[in-house]
């Protein structure tokens, strides 16, 4: 056995003090940052007149905001060893519920609270089924994906529900700008910061890593694994509720067709960001970088007037390449 314990002094030197930008320099994020920079260079070279404009960059961030909020929740669920396929449908249901005429009568604040409650409630149902009903997360959230979308269709009668002008405060989130940036981007940023704090600075985050990394060890160490699992799905639902408000603001509608296939984009972003699908490892920053890479690709394809099918192929390739690179990275660091 090559005993790593005996490698002593040299290895200890390798552990350096983290600098202020350490999170960027960390090996696991470095590749993602490089990829992002490369994509930006591609944008600058192919469309110098359109890419680096404020309006384009703002539209990239607005586009990223909705899925971005969902991705934060998905990161928690996946680090915790689960998966949530129902995020897109949950968001659609929350957007429909919040924009029914009955809800709209109470004004924008109640609409926002309604979206958040519906999202959290849906997540809580997922969590109960998985943690206490012992359903496999894949199956429970797949069922919710289908059922929530069905419920959204039924509530809206498959019609797009427009936000009335006296509830324009919701729409203002996308039209009002602070320093040239729409408010919804600030909401996205706030969710990312809060998510990062929750994951890295609280017992909740610590337990998330423990439950995903080794549920048996977590249980024997006295952590209530079931309750925590349930809370993770509720958190994911809460993020879907917030995302519903953002998409309502951007599209001025609530609709059962919102968020179609968002679950795939969110999961892909989390994976590209280096979170293990088996749980126990991952970062919020990585997921957000992964999401920005995805959004940037979409943007580049649109700017260059390329085929959307090619865009999907490119995204598929990126997922595979990212995972292959990370695996090599893991091997190199293994003792």
């Amino acid at each position: 056995m090559s005993n790593p314990a005996e490698a002593g002094p040299q290895n200890r030197l390798a552990v350096r003090a983290p600098g202020p930008l350490a999170w960027l320099g960390e090996a696991r994020h470095l590749g993602l940052v490089v990829a992002l920079v490369l994509l930006a260079i591609v944008g600058l070279v192919t469309k110098p007149e359109n890419f680096a404009t404020t309006s384009n960059l703002v539209s990239i961030l607005s586009l990223a905001a909705t899925i971005g909020v969902i991705t934060v929740g998905a990161t928690f669920v996946i680090i915790g060893g689960g998966i949530d396929l129902s995020v897109g449908a949950t968001m659609a249901l929350a957007s429909v519920w919040a924009t029914t005429l009955a809800t709209q009568a109470y004004g924008p604040a109640v609409m926002a609270v309604c979206a958040i409650l519906v999202g959290t409630g849906t997540g809580l149902v997922n969590g109960l089924l998985i943690a206490y009903g012992r359903l496999v997360p894949f199956i429970a959230t797949l069922a919710m994906l289908v059922a929530a979308r069905g419920l959204a269709q039924r509530m809206s009668d498959r019609k797009t529900q427009i936000i009335q002008s006296d509830n324009g405060a919701i729409v203002d989130l996308s039209t009002t700008r602070l320093l040239g940036v729409p408010l919804l981007v600030y909401i996205f940023a706030l969710v990312v910061v809060l998510g990062w704090i929750l994951l890295n600075r609280t017992t909740f985050g610590r337990r998330t890593y423990a439950v995903g990394g080794n549920p048996e060890a977590a249980r024997l160490a006295g952590i209530n694994v079931r309750r925590h699992t349930m809370l993770l799905y509720a958190l994911s639902g809460l993020c879907c509720g917030i995302a519903a408000i953002l998409i309502m603001a951007r599209t001025t509608t609530g609709s059962s067709t919102h968020g179609d296939l968002y679950e795939l984009d969110a999961i892909a972003a989390v994976i590209i960001g280096g979170t293990l699908l088996t749980g126990g490892r991952g970062t919020i920053i990585g997921s957000i970088l992964g999401l920005l890479i995805f959004t940037l690709i979409t943007n580049l394809f649109i700017l260059n007037g390329l085929n959307t099918s090619d865009q999907l192929i490119a995204k598929g390739l990126i997922i595979v390449v990212a995972v292959l690179l990370q695996r090599r990275n893991l091997k190199e660091r293994a003792p």
């Binding site: 056995m1 290895n11 017992t203 423990a210 990394g213 080794n214 977590a218 160490a221 006295g222």
Partner: protein, 495 residues
């Protein structure tokens, strides 16, 4: 028929086999004896083609052979029935019996032929009532054992290796097992039989080979009339001297754990004992004697009848979270699978059991967490002394120290240690023993389980000897020796 000479098998950190000889004749039942860790399982796996020996030769029917893979071993005519049954629960009885050598033509399985052949083999084993089409997962353990045996027979094996075949069987089923073994040997099949139960070996065995610390210490003893004392002293007399810390001078404090009439069907029954503050109580017994199951039940990780009281308060059964909150901690048997977050730092692993202690309203005080982890790393001399290092880069002994450190936080009253030195090399053991004694000296009660009898005797103040789920002896550790404990465990006589 089978001659093994000088078999050596080296694993990282341990020499599992260090020159083993074995002679098995056709038509005999050859028993393999030895304590846990003596190398029996490794030797079987060499025969089954799972492990390749580093040195040594294997001759079979006069020709030198090499079992490079399990398939090679089967082709040679070696069949193995493992202690942990290796059946596929979702498949039928017939499919399991012929797994890997299906009755098939061009990839299509001929199920009719397979079912008929399976029925014939099962009838030969005296179990025509097991239906070839039944799903194996729904069978009782004894029936699974028969299926496992049927699989070995279906290979036309000439040498059958049985690792603790009676462990899962009731008494009358053991008689049936012996009948089958006698039929096989009458046909010239050789059987290598491993069991801890001496009375079985006396009944079915012809000759005995004893292993100790990876070496053969006796070859071909007559199974029926070698005295028990001789066998036991061959198994014990060891070379490695353990260094145990001195016992506490003061008498133990008040009772922290009280167990009353604890029972769990099929595992153990009517177990009662207590542990006092500052006292180490050891459970000695073989694998399957119920020792680990008792620990699990005390911890609330296993449902059981009876009562468990911690400092006079009855614990709710099956509630690990509550049990930990009341001040109990467990260092489980499978360190990697049950205790560690391998990807996380030493610090995160140490504080896992007492996160609320470091948090106000969920917000972690990371500076205090780091300081506490550093203090414990230094106190227990965890090497390398870097709390931020991923725990998977530490050696087994240092990982175990980190698990112990976890329960030094949060004011624990009682610690349960299941095989605390498993996978820890001999040099690091003495350090762990000192750490464990140090825990007790701080007033923590310790309940210890180990398959190594000298470890239990050397470390504990009091010892409970277990055999097949019952406590057969309870007393002061210093009044016992390894010899007597093994006598009790193997012969079932309370001293």
């Amino acid at each position: 028929m089978l001659v093994m000479r000088g078999i050596v098998k080296q694993f990282p950190g341990v020499r599992a086999l260090d020159g083993v000889d074995l002679d098995v004749s056709a038509g005999e039942v050859h028993c393999l004896l030895g304590q846990n860790g003596a190398g029996k399982s490794t030797l079987i796996k060499v025969l089954a083609g799972v492990h390749q020996p580093d040195q040594g030769t294997i001759e079979f029917n006069g020709a030198q052979v090499r079992a490079g893979s399990p398939i090679d071993a089967i082709r040679l005519g070696f069949a193995t029935i493992y202690q942990e049954l290796d059946l596929v629960d979702g498949l039928s009885v017939a499919e399991n019996i012929f797994l890997g050598h299906e009755h098939a033509r061009a990839g299509f399985v001929n199920r009719g032929a397979a079912n008929r052949a399976a029925a014939a083999v099962l009838a030969r084993l005296g179990h025509p009532e097991i239906r070839p089409k039944a799903e194996v997962g729904r069978l009782a353990p004894a029936a699974k054992q028969v299926v496992s045996m049927a699989r070995a027979l279906s290979h036309e094996a000439r040498l059958i290796i049985m690792d603790e075949p009676s462990a899962a069987l009731a008494h009358d089923e053991v008689a049936n097992l012996f009948r089958i073994i006698r039929e096989l040997t009458a046909q010239g099949v050789a059987v290598v039989y491993i069991s801890h139960r001496l009375e079985e070996i006396r009944e079915i065995g012809d000759r005995v080979t004893v292993l100790k610390d990876g070496r053969t210490v006796a070859v071909g003893l007559p199974a029926r009339d070698t005295p028990t004392t001789e066998i036991v002293s061959l198994m014990t007399g060891r070379n490695v001297e353990y260094v145990f810390p001195p016992r506490a001078a003061e008498p133990p404090g008040e009772e922290v754990l009280r167990v009353e009439g604890l029972g769990s069907p099929g595992a153990f029954a009517d177990v009662s004992f207590s542990v006092r503050a500052g006292e180490i109580v050891g459970l000695a017994g073989l694998v399957g004697s119920g020792r680990s199951e008792i620990l699990e039940a005390v911890y609330g990780a296993r449902r059981a009848s009876g009562r468990v009281l911690l400092s006079g308060k009855t614990l709710r059964r099956g509630d690990v979270v509550g049990t930990v909150r009341q001040g109990m901690g467990l260092a489980p048997e499978e360190r990697k699978a049950q205790a560690l977050l391998l990807d996380q730092s030493v610090t995160a692993n140490i504080t896992l059991g007492s996160l609320p202690e470091f948090a106000t309203f969920g917000w972690m005080d990371r500076a205090r967490e780091k300081a506490e982890a550093r203090r414990l790393v230094e106190a227990l001399d965890i090497r390398p002394p870097d709390p931020e290092r991923p725990i998977k880069t530490l050696s087994g002994g240092n990982q175990q120290k980190a698990v112990l450190a976890r329960w030094l936080l949060g004011g624990r009253k009682l610690l349960l240690l299941d095989e605390p030195t498993r996978g820890v090399d001999v040099g690091a053991r003495a350090e762990l023993y000192a750490v464990i004694r140090g825990l007790a000296d701080q007033g923590i009660g310790v309940l210890l389980v180990s398959s190594e009898v000298p470890e239990v005797l050397g470390l504990s103040d009091r010892v409970l000897v277990l055999r097949e789920g019952t406590v057969i002896h309870q007393g002061d550790a210093q009044e016992l020796d390894e010899h007597r404990v093994l006598d009790m465990i193997m012969d079932g006589r309370a001293a």
